[in-house]
């Protein structure tokens, strides 16, 4: 049976881990050597993009032997991640006092700036980390048994 996979080959994981190290190196270089805030911003953006891309490569690459049981684990992990994010975003929308966006930026206490930072930087990382964590936990548990 010929099934096309949307996942990258296994060596994508190695590339992902290398990029992850690179993103930490960029961040360390920024803290240690960059004192100009404009240059630091470019370093921070570079580190963030490298981090997102590295997590994408790590999460979306096949295991050494990618069989149907592992595909099942991936599906379950995606389901759990989607469920967790649905609950989290629901609570977030209830708990946060969200004010209108940039159109109404003359209003006081707009939350849009904080939210955009949160949604663009923190949430994608959490998404990948939760998915990968759950997936690896399932693999580990299965191996242990």
């Amino acid at each position: 049976m010929n099934k096309k996979s949307i996942l990258m080959p296994h060596y994508g994981q190695i590339a992902g881990w290398c990029l992850l190290v690179l993103s930490f190196l960029i961040e360390i270089a920024k803290v240690l050597f960059v004192h100009d805030i404009n240059v630091a911003w470019y370093f921070a953006k570079g580190a963030h993009i490298t981090l997102i891309v590295s997590l994408f490569f790590i999460c979306m690459s096949q295991e050494k032997v990618e069989d149907e049981m592992i595909s099942g684990f991936r599906l379950k992990s995606i389901g759990i991640t989607a469920y967790a994010f649905f609950v989290f975003l629901l609570f977030l929308s209830i708990l946060l006092d969200v004010k209108p966006g940039p159109i109404f930026s003359n209003l006081e206490n707009t939350t849009s700036a904080y939210l955009s930072e949160f949604f663009l930087i923190v949430l994608p990382l959490c998404l990948f980390i939760l998915y990968y964590g759950v997936f690896k936990y399932m693999l580990w548990k299965s191996n242990k048994q």
Partner: protein, 66 residues
């Protein structure tokens, strides 16, 4: 679903890794199938049956609660 994969493997005196390599899955998957924690797809069940040269329904059987 119960199965006799472990018995068949013992008869042929092969390891889980050898069986896994022969049918293209991980050793972990074979272990999970043998211990009844994972029910293989039809394709995988037929591949295992072909490897042991036996019909699939002699290796895999439904239990009462299935």
């Amino acid at each position: 679903m119960k199965n006799t994969v472990r018995v068949e493997r013992a008869i042929l005196d092969i390891t889980q890794q050898q069986l896994a390599d022969a049918i293209g899955v991980s050793r972990n998957t074979i272990n999970s199938i043998e211990s009844g924690k994972y029910v293989p797809s039809t394709v995988l069940a037929l591949k295992i049956a072909r490897y042991f040269s036996k019909p699939a329904d002699s290796l895999f059987a439904l239990e009462e609660n299935d």
